[in-house]
Symmetry: C2
Subunit: 336 residues, 2 copies
């Protein structure tokens, strides 16, 4: 098995990416290929005493400026670490690709280069978020496309369900439609029609779920259009981070509160870790022919390690084939 990792994507590239790749290589004994400037990768590895002799490196001279639009990135930076990584996967030179770079570019590039599976109208960007009970759930679409149609939302539900079942090992994942109320008539035409389609799909559709319920683990897959999904995703991360920070600040106030912190320190750290999305391995782009993951922009070595760990499960589970089979079955039902 060979996994390509974008050494030049994200805030902590390339050092943390290289470190994470080394951890995973040691643990799982797979082939890892890094894309990025070979000279910089080697220089950083040397400066930090990191042994990268087991990796192959694909030298990619282009560096993507931050202010580019996703379409421009894929058009104008076809020799970037992201584009060449995607190309390797598309050409079957590798089994999967992980990048902590620009999400939009990865979605556009993943769709155009790795290509959609037969029957998939639109791939979905599918980040995972931690709930309060130590589990996680998926938002699909987290922003690959901004709008959606009912059939696309139905497909997101099926894609998410297959991923959560086969990769995250959740049996009969609870798929919910993001909506302003729980009753089936709630929402606009998009939601009402998507509700009817999801209800008729071979998944465990539990109906509409309001966004106040998701942090308590009300569903495993939360289906919505990409604009809404992107705003919920970022709001979820923002509020969780803000509240956690505010609570930690309470302990830093004075010597009395600092003493109090000693009594709960271990449990607070444990809670903070359970809220850490790093261990869930990043967000798959679902509906394309090969596994492609977006790792969080702030990924450290641990996050990259877990992204590689989960990608191995993803590759072994052969999810793309299961998606094609499921979509064929739905199509047969529709025609029959």
């Amino acid at each position: 098995m060979k996994i390509v990792v974008d050494a030049f994507g994200g805030d902590n590239a390339p050092l943390e990416i290289i470190k994470g790749a080394i951890l995973a290589q040691q643990k799982f004994n797979i082939d890892i290929c890094l894309t990025g400037s070979e000279s910089i990768i080697k220089k950083v590895a040397k400066e930090n005493n990191l042994d990268i002799s087991n990796f192959s490196i694909v030298d990619t001279p282009d560096v993507i400026p931050v202010d580019q639009t996703p379409n421009d990135i894929m058009k104008e930076y076809s020799n970037s670490s992201m584009a060449l990584g995607l190309k390797m996967v598309a050409n079957d030179e590798a089994d999967g690709f992980i990048s902590a770079g620009n999400s939009g570019a990865l979605c556009v590039g993943g769709t155009l280069m790795v290509k959609r599976l037969k029957g998939v109208k639109r791939p979905g960007f599918a980040p995972l978020l931690p709930t309060m009970n130590g589990k996680m759930f998926m938002i699909i679409d987290g922003g690959a496309n901004l709008d959606a149609r009912p059939e696309i939302l139905r497909q997101f539900g099926v894609l998410g369900s297959l991923y959560m079942e086969n990769v995250m090992k959740i049996s009969s994942p609870r798929v919910a439609l993001a909506n302003v109320g729980t009753e089936s008539h709630k929402g606009g035409d998009l939601q009402r029609e998507a509700y009817a389609l999801l209800k008729d799909s071979p998944i465990n559709f539990i109906g509409n779920v309001e966004s106040r319920e998701i942090s308590e683990g009300a569903c495993d897959v939360y289906v919505c259009d990409g604009f809404t999904g992107n705003l919920i995703l970022k709001n979820y991360e923002g509020v969780a981070k803000s509240v956690s920070k505010a609570v930690v600040n309470i302990f830093k106030k004075n010597i009395i509160t600092k003493i109090g912190a000693l009594f709960v320190y271990k449990d607070l750290i444990k809670f903070k870790e359970s809220m850490n999305a790093d261990i869930y391995g990043g967000a798959p782009i679902l509906g394309i022919k090969k596994p492609v993951f977006k790792a969080h922009g702030s990924s450290n070595a641990n996050a990259i390690f877990h992204a590689i760990r989960i990608m191995i499960d993803y590759i072994n589970a052969n999810v793309p084939q299961k998606i094609e089979e499921s979509f064929n079955k739905i199509k047969e039902q529709q025609n029959g």
Copy 2:
């Protein structure tokens, strides 16, 4: 000044509503009229030794079942505590109306009965949420309508700005457009066109703001369509509540952690109170001719007290007139 309060709206009606109204009446010396079943109001007051002799009561026999749609409520329950309260305001028999009942029904009823101000295309439901720095910001639209057009989003920005300036006393409120990125080209057509219109409006438009920034106080008014706004609003409340609860549970774990809690107890309570939306007085329906507030469904006496307190400011500030003036000015600009 006379304010009508729906004694039969919300989870804690009528007892907490009556208590809150008594607190406000004592403090501000205004006329308060309660709508609801007169016999039950009197019975509950007597059982709890509450003096309601200063209130007028409008007896409303209809009780709204929970599973009704907003349109049905206003059509079929025209003698409900909500409908009669709105009618009094619409007929200039009172200066403002507060209800903790069904949001959708209040938005529909407020629009149909109290009627839109001249030039307002759609009223916006405008809940306020606390930020981590002890301030608050407004989401508009929080769900009065599910979709929007660019001109409607522009109007939401102006409505929100006028309310925050005149009622919440924030000088030059920072109005932001909810979007998936900060650059002006981000989002769909709706966002790009709304961006251009908001930029040309007589408000302090600070551009696109991502939803991960709002909990840290990135803006005073967060403009979006009602579907997105409703999901952000409930997600914000849900995550903040979940994380706070999870942290409190850490302290309850065992005798050691309970001792730790003693050291930070005061500060934790203070933080919890700063996150309590009760003191911000509920959500105005902006763009209609008279002040109408939706108090939170879980409102207690304190929340109702503050809703009445803020409504007094709202009435005194004469916001509806300021809205009409501002909308006239924008129209003149457009024509000139």
